[in-house]
């Protein structure tokens, strides 16, 4: 073992070990995250199996096109994130900074679109309990309307949790952006880029599932 590189923490033997530990740590965290979303998704699955038609009715109130566009936006951000890791690996600092910046931009775009969707749902009285127009479903009976309400609870909780993860991701990306502009990352050491990249892709995957589960219910 030669001299200890600056980025090497005192308790590791090599950068290799340190990098392996960090990525494993993130993967393990993501496995844990699967169960975090898994808890709500299980509840979702149970109620969808019980009240399928009400969920379909609720889903129809959402704007499929907007959801699809947002999916594309998020996929684009994943692309730029993957490229960022590539450029970090190849030591192309400017490209790295650019890609991180683009990823952030797509992230903002996604959240902005989501925000307008929320606003529209508010205008259309689709906010459970506070502004919810049960009369829309009065032909199907009172209970039916409440179950649609339940669908919207899921909609807001699931997309809300996803949005919280996006905000955390934006914070992490900002950190990457600053450090990469400062030139902290070298081909030998870019662990944070890779690890935060993993997180970002995971948040993307969550959305990949949320999109059909919320926007595309047919019965």
């Amino acid at each position: 073992m030669s001299a200890r590189p600056g980025a090497l923490a005192h308790h590791f033997d090599s950068l290799e070990q340190q990098h392996e530990a960090a990525t494993l740590g993130m993967w393990v965290f993501l496995a844990s995250e699967i169960l975090f979303f898994g808890g709500v998704l299980t509840a979702y699955a149970v109620y969808r199996s019980l009240h399928g038609d009400a969920f379909a009715a609720g889903s129809k109130e959402l704007f499929t096109t907007v959801g699809a566009i947002n999916t594309a936006v998020l996929l684009s951000s994943s692309l730029t994130m993957a490229l960022a890791v590539y450029f970090a690996h190849t030591g192309r600092r400017d490209w790295l900074t650019l890609c991180v910046g683009l990823t952030m931009l797509f992230g903002v775009a996604f959240l902005a679109v989501k925000g307008t969707e929320y606003y529209r749902e508010y205008r259309e009285s689709l906010i459970p309990r506070y502004a919810f127009d049960l009369d829309k479903w009065k032909d199907e009976g009172a209970a039916f309307g409440h179950r649609v309400e339940m669908f919207f609870l899921f909609y807001f909780v699931l997309t809300g949790l996803h949005a919280v993860h996006m905000f955390v991701g934006m914070g992490l990306l900002t950190y990457l952006f600053v450090r990469s502009r400062r030139g902290d990352f070298l081909p030998e050491y870019y662990t944070p880029v890779e690890v935060i990249g993993l997180y970002w892709h995971f948040v993307d995957i969550v959305w990949i599932f949320l999109f059909p589960l919320l926007y595309l219910i047919r019965h």
Partner: protein, 96 residues
């Protein structure tokens, strides 16, 4: 350091595939599939997730341990779903 065998052209190809799948999943929702919409939608989503995992997240180049970690997460989600539904799907089997 992990060796990054994936190069940008691959990323772009994967990206194109993902966009295409997004489009098709939306399109499939309007096809008359009977009760199979959910299966189709979740199936396509799973394919997309696998693409992201394998290429964007470099699972292809990762150690067996990494695969194991993901498998564990999914397996445990499977437990949660399976045993919860063991209750819900058998309710009302016993009539009285």
């Amino acid at each position: 350091m992990t060796r990054l065998a994936v190069r940008p052209p691959t990323y772009f190809r994967v990206y194109a595939a993902l966009l295409f799948l997004t489009f098709s999943t939306a399109a499939v929702a309007y096809l008359p599939l009977g009760g199979w919409h959910t299966v189709a939608a979740v199936g396509i989503a799973a394919v997309k997730a696998i693409l992201v995992l394998l290429f964007f997240m470099h699972l292809l180049q990762s150690t067996r341990l990494t695969w194991l970690v993901i498998a564990a997460g999914l397996f445990w989600l499977g437990i949660l779903l399976a045993l919860t539904f063991a209750d819900y799907l058998t309710r009302g089997w016993l009539s009285y």
